[in-house]
Amino acid sequence: MYPITTAHYIALSAALLLIGTVGVLTRRNIVIILMSIELILNAVNINLVAFSQALHNLNGQVFAIFVITDAVAEAAVGLGILIALFRNKETVLADEVDLLKW
């Protein structure tokens, strides 16, 4: 239970990844879907930092910085798309955006 090992961090990261996946798959609101993607990226970061600490190697933390950079870019572009979508279709529900479906 209580010497905290890398396995504890991996378990936490897996749980957070599952929460994020369920959010992406089941929610209809696009804002919440984007938030779930942030949860998934944070799960990845927990893993990277835990392994960086376990292996005494800083490459994992550098990768975490790049993951955060990607998360910022993704959030900015995603929310831009959301605003354009709301202006054109007056909806934020993902399954009402079905223009390419027939």
Partner: protein, 170 residues
């Protein structure tokens, strides 16, 4: 060691409870608030692992930057109509399969104990140096200089792209 364990469980509870509440709330503003709780838990975990620079980046960039961006967009876009409608779509079966698959793997590993994880042994390098931020800067600006520059171009493209998409008329 015991204090470390106690703090680990507090932060883990923050992360998981915040995550679950994020994906179940009807009001998007409440979701954003619980996501902030979850991100603060992750920041605490970074601090627990002596990654001080990432701790600061998590607070400043995630909580101070991305979440404010989310809250701005929530207020810009009218979500009242969406809050009155059905919140979940019919994909719960796929979600259940995903959770069952990964959950079974995790359960298998943990039923075999910590020895089931065969983690590589640490190399000769140590993390005992002048400080986390200095060492991180050394690695980032020597070994990862080209990816660093590419990341800056990625951010530039993302900024221009979001402006182009959010603007009414170019």
């Amino acid at each position: 060691m015991l204090t470390q364990a106690i703090f680990f469980y507090i932060f883990a509870a923050m992360v998981l409870a915040g995550g679950v509440l994020t994906i179940t709330r009807r009001n998007a503003v409440h979701s954003a608030m619980f996501l902030i709780v979850s991100l603060m838990g992750v920041a605490g975990l970074y601090l627990l692992q002596q990654a001080e620079f990432l701790f600061a980046v998590q607070i400043v960039l995630y909580i101070g930057g991305i979440m404010v961006l989310f809250l701005f967009v929530i207020m810009l876009v009218n979500l009242d109509q969406a809050a009155l409608q059905k919140q979940f779509n019919g994909q719960w079966l796929i979600a259940l399969v995903c959770v069952a698959l990964v959950g079974a793997q995790v359960f298998y590993f943990f039923s075999k104990g910590a020895g089931a994880f065969r983690i590589a042994t640490p190399g000769v390098t140590t993390l005992l140096g002048p400080g986390n931020t200095e060492m991180l800067a050394d690695v980032l600006f020597s070994e990862y200089l080209l990816p660093f520059e590419i990341a800056s171009i990625l951010l530039l493209v993302a900024v221009v792209g979001s402006v182009v998409m959010a603007k009414k008329r170019i």
